[in-house]
């Protein structure tokens, strides 16, 4: 039997099993925290920071990613404080920078919820934006489905992008699980000055 702990989420007393995250505890308690890079059953990744919440621990306030932070006894969590709302607005605006004009309906809905202007940073976007926000869901889904990753990240900083490793892509024709999890609606590859690998899009499209 796992230990049960009590924490406070938005003034609500919540009981949770020790070892789960704030996000999971909130979901069980019916408090919704928006996410971009989280997917039930996949390893949390902590990349979009959209699930940020404010916590208070031993009198100190802190912003943490709720999908990764463990629910702890006595923790006070605020999921929608003014600070958090502001952070989410900026994050969705930033996410839209590289995603281009054709953003998914999920992102569009979130944008209107947080009063975000999706085109705010469009002029700062890379030359050829793609829909990919590099949430890494496809990569994690692929590892889970196939024990091996046919897709992965290459490059770092702003040159980071998703690539297909052709020598491992044998299963792709029958799998394509990655496409089901992509929050932008379609697994796609991305920009960057050094795409030595074929575009995931093209490869998947060719196999349809």
């Amino acid at each position: 039997m796992k230990k049960v702990i009590t924490l406070q989420i938005d003034d609500k007393e919540v009981k949770a099993e020790e070892g789960i995250t704030i996000l999971e505890a909130a979901q069980h308690a019916g408090v919704e925290i928006p996410t971009l890079c989280w997917y039930e059953g996949l390893e949390p990744y902590g990349a979009c920071r959209f699930c940020s919440v404010e916590i208070e621990k031993r009198g100190r306030a802190q912003v943490v990613a709720s999908c990764c932070y463990p629910a702890e006894e006595g923790l006070k969590v605020k999921t929608r404080s003014p600070k958090i709302v502001k952070i989410r607005k900026i994050i969705i605006e930033l996410a839209a920078t590289s995603a281009g004009e054709d953003v998914s309906s999920k992102m569009r809905a979130l944008a209107s919820e947080y009063n975000a202007d999706l085109s705010r940073f469009r002029s700062k976007a890379p030359l050829s934006p793609t829909k990919c926000i590099l949430c890494g869901l496809c990569v994690r889904r692929c590892i889970e489905a196939n024990w091996e990753s046919a897709i992965g990240f290459i490059g770092r900083g702003i040159y980071r992008c998703i690539a297909l490793f052709p020598e491992k892509a044998g299963l792709c024709s029958t799998c394509s699980y990655c496409r089901d999890v992509c929050p932008t609606g379609r697994t796609c590859s991305t920009f960057g000055p050094r795409p030595p690998f074929p575009r995931v899009d093209d490869v998947l499209a060719g196999r349809k």
Binding site: A47, C48, Y69, L94, A95, F121, K124, R156, G157
Partner: protein, 642 residues
Amino acid sequence: MGTVKCIRSPKDLEKLREEIKSKRKPSKSSVSVCVSTGCVALDASKVKEAFIAELEKQGLKDQVEIKETGCLGFCEQGPRVTIYPEEICYFKVKPEDAPEIVSKSILEKKVVERLLYKDPATGKGVQKLEDIPFYKYQRRLLLENNAKIDPKNIEDYIALGGYSALAKVLFEMTPEQVVEEVKKSKLRGRGGGGFPTGLKWETTRNAPGEPKYVIVNCDEGDPGAFMDRSLMEGNPHSVLEGLIIGAYAIGANEGFVYVREEYPIAVENISTAIRQAEEYGLLGEDIIGSSLSLRVKVHKGAGAFVSGESSALMTAIEGKVGEPRPKYVHTAVKGLWDKPSLLNNVKTWASIPLIVLKGAEWFRSIGTQGNSGTMIFSLVGKVNNTGLVEVPMGITLRDLIFKIGGGIRDGKKFKAVQIGGPSGGFIPEQHLDIPVDYDELVKVGSMMGSGGMVVMDEDTCMVDVARYFVDFLLEESCGKCIPCREGLRVLSSILSDICAGKGKSEDIQTTEEIAETMREALLCALGRTAANPVLTSLKYFRDEWEQHIIEKRCPANVCKALIDFYINPEKCQACLLCLKECPAGAIQGDKDQVHWIDQEKCIKCGTCYEICNFQAVKKLSGEPIPPPPKGMKPIRKLKGEN
């Protein structure tokens, strides 16, 4: 090699130390040549060769010893050569100086004046290191032995008392006592965060899980920083001894030294140190005859700046891409392969033997309350003396920059100092009297970081330099988190627009919003501190931003798009120099005729500005360029000439 080689007890160690010492006559002359990266880049190896040849030639090969030692930090004055036992320090030594030094200093015991460091204040040569202003105000606990030790020879380290701290710990203290001593010393991690070291040791010791690991962080990805490299190159055994003590304290049997690949001498010297320590029974099985066993491996890291972050570094040792982990669990509890792992910076480890030998009390007496011991900075930028400086915590920035650094170059005015590496904040004149410690630096928007310290003068544009650091981090961030990757991308774009004269009035607010989000919401400390340069630039130099955005001028005359080059007709001597050198052919004029710049053709490369011998070329920003002279205008001779 001594007769005792494999040390099986503290007695053996002392016996060996006595043997080494008795073999060495303190009156014997020796020439110590720095062979660290800085001096080697200035041809120190050739200097060493020249001394070997010269001693041979003069038949002194057996009387005089040549020692290859580590860095003393005053690298811009290298190559450095010290003559013992007189301790005469020569700087900027060339191979052709070897005969004179050997004949004069070694044979006649005289000083070669011209190779001494000249005190800029008095103009006199200074013979002893501690009398040079650069060193006078330093407190060299960690770097002191760099000049006395051949890092490839463990006996040098042992002769100076090396490994007696380890022996003391193993035979006179329990692991708990060691942890307690480190806690009492109030040592804080020198890798940047300033986390209390004793507390971290205790957490790792008490964390459940086996095996446990001890790890040295010598990633040092901060451009221009080389303090960890110098220690690793110059005194690797001090780091290793600290590491072994740590292993005893927390109960680890395996250790790693993570060194960046670009540090080949450091890799070589620590590898040699590990091998020699094993040979001598100071590492491996049953260390000094105790029950402690420890194996240490060197891991060469090839990652970005972010690989120095604790969880990223451990991921890299595991053989994966070095990216920070998203878990909110300290690596002291779940680190390498999810086991309790004690990671400390090179300087932190090297402080441990000193604390054990001299006691926590003694260590706390150096520095200030809550910030004990010393910190090594790499002082660079527009100061007169650049190099590595080791100072007690709590020294003021003013003393550091003006007493040790010798003030600003060329009599210019101080503008700001950036501390803590690429994501450190800029500190302006008004805060120069704060004591340098972890907490005070954070209060003014900067941080201790790795100890990089870049001094900027009045010719630095604070918008441009903020842009520079954003652009650096843009490529060094791992790119995982949206606000870090996209935030830096947008900041970079906004900043280059402002520098290009295309800034908009809303840019300042946008910049602040993004910077705040990054500071609050990011996963690792790189992302959370990445906006420090931007935020402090805005906080202390907001007027400069406004001048760029609203008045379209760069007050420091740096941003190319906002400045124009102009030849002052009063000063021009029509020497034809700039006219010939201008790559764009933009300069008009003739012999005896005042030169002027065709603004349409000027590409603002600054060549004319650099080469004019009469300071006739000026940079103008935000003011109209006076029209070129009509027709040809004869020059006016400088005063005093006819």
